[in-house]
């Protein structure tokens, strides 16, 4: 479905149009479920989270108008942030890391993703300018919703070192993205 069609469905949902909301669910729930599962790494939890995500979409659809995100990215951001809030409230840092690592990378490599084109090349190009393990930390944090504490554990560095690392990476990314 074309982005402008998803946009229309979101706008109609903000007007409390249930038919549009049903269609929006049909078109996007698989992607958003993929997001919840990846972050939460637990089916039951992800199902619960997805319900809450669509409740949010119904109630907050009017905010789409003020975002610069594409419609699907806007929906993904809601799902990701919700799943991360949920796991932050639940996760005991050390216990889940191995489990999370096991499923950590069904992701296509950067080359494959670059094929997605245009705008997306930019972030990958900028990630490539970082040292390899730092780019991996950024990507891992984004896709899995890992906290500073978890990243520190995984990369075997002290928490504050991790924080400094990542912030420097973010500053470099910003500098590259704005170039």
């Amino acid at each position: 479905m074309a982005p402008q069609d998803i946009s229309k469905l979101i706008v109609r949902t903000s007007m409390k149009d249930r038919a549009a909301f049903d269609l929006l669910y049909r078109q996007t729930s698989a992607k958003l479920f993929g997001v919840c599962l990846r972050v939460l790494n637990d089916r039951g939890d992800a199902e619960e989270a997805l319900q809450e995500v669509f409740v949010k979409i119904w109630t907050k659809a009017d905010r789409f108008a003020v975002s610069d995100l594409s419609p699907i990215s806007w929906l993904v951001a809601i799902a990701r942030n919700h799943a991360i809030d949920r796991i932050r409230a639940r996760r005991v840092p050390a216990a889940h890391i191995d489990a999370a690592l096991d499923v950590a990378d069904p992701a296509p490599g950067p080359e494959a993703m670059v094929v997605a084109g245009g705008e997306s090349e930019r972030i990958y190009h900028c990630l490539d300018e970082l040292e390899k393990d730092r780019a991996a930390a950024v990507r891992g944090a984004y896709l899995n919703g890992e906290s500073y504490a978890e990243l520190a554990e995984r990369h075997r560095v002290p928490l504050n070192t991790m924080r400094t690392w990542l912030r420097r990476s973010l500053l470099k990314l910003r500098e590259c993205l704005e170039r």
Binding site: V35, E146, R174
Partner: protein, 239 residues
């Protein structure tokens, strides 16, 4: 020491905090601070949005996984339980007192409409579709979402952001082709408001017409034409 504290005052600290929020590395309490700021500070919300835009291509790596079929009905139950017209009413629904009360109320309302409609609603000439417009302008934080319901001659306005200054009102205008703007009335204050559409305006209000919001003295333009700056505009589109 939270990130908000050790980052706050320094230049660019907010931007870094926004990036950390989007990336997802913050702890619960820090995320709550960020979420509150997104709701209350437009500037911070924009920083967050722009990092979401930067990082969003990475989301291509999330696979699509079909959720179980039972999930959507569960969402609907959460959202619409009280007025549910679910496709498969459960025993629980049929035996629910609330459901029967709702049904009785609906029946009364339907009867009232049935009785009243011939008087309230002279036959509509052409049942047009609903049209929507998103009104915004550069250099202004005033944003409205507009839904025009031709059959009901109603314009619904949802204020997304911005507010009117003291002693000022927002007035809604319709601009059709190269004609002078036609006032549709002063927009009542509030998040969600409605304006009735006069038959004269209704005849011209169609897809492609431009709607605009101007700042006027309280009570509306004294001249019948916009006198203040246009703070939001957009064209009507079919949905």
């Amino acid at each position: 020491m939270t990130l908000a504290e050790d980052n706050g005052p320094e230049r660019g600290g907010d931007d870094l905090f926004a990036a950390e929020y989007v990336l997802g590395v913050l702890a619960t309490d820090e995320r709550q601070i960020a979420a509150r700021r997104i709701d209350t500070e437009a500037g911070f919300a924009r920083l967050v949005d722009s990092w979401e835009v930067h990082f969003s291509p990475m989301a291509a790596a999330y696979p699509e996984i079909e959720p179980p079929a039972s999930l959507k009905p569960a969402v609907d139950r959460r959202l619409f339980a009280s007025s549910s017209t679910a496709t498969q009413p459960s025993a629980g629904l049929w035996s629910s007192l609330g459901f029967w009360r709702g049904l009785a109320a609906a029946a009364v309302a339907a009867l009232a409409i049935y009785v009243a409609v011939p008087y309230l609603n002279p036959p509509v000439v052409a049942p047009q579709e609903r049209l929507v417009a998103s009104l915004a302008a550069d250099g202004s934080d005033v944003k409205y979402l507009v839904v025009y319901d031709a059959a009901r001659r109603d314009v619904g306005l949802s204020l997304v952001s911005g507010e009117r200054a003291a002693g000022k009102d927002f007035e809604l205008w319709m601009i059709e082709g190269k004609n002078a703007p036609v006032s549709m009335g002063v927009i009542p204050a509030g998040q969600t408001t409605h304006l009735a559409v006069t038959p004269a305006v209704q005849q011209k209000l169609a897809q492609g017409a431009v709607l605009a919001v101007s700042v006027e003295p309280t009570g509306g333009s004294p001249t019948g034409q916009p006198t203040g700056p246009v703070v939001a505009a957009g064209d009507l589109k079919g949905i």
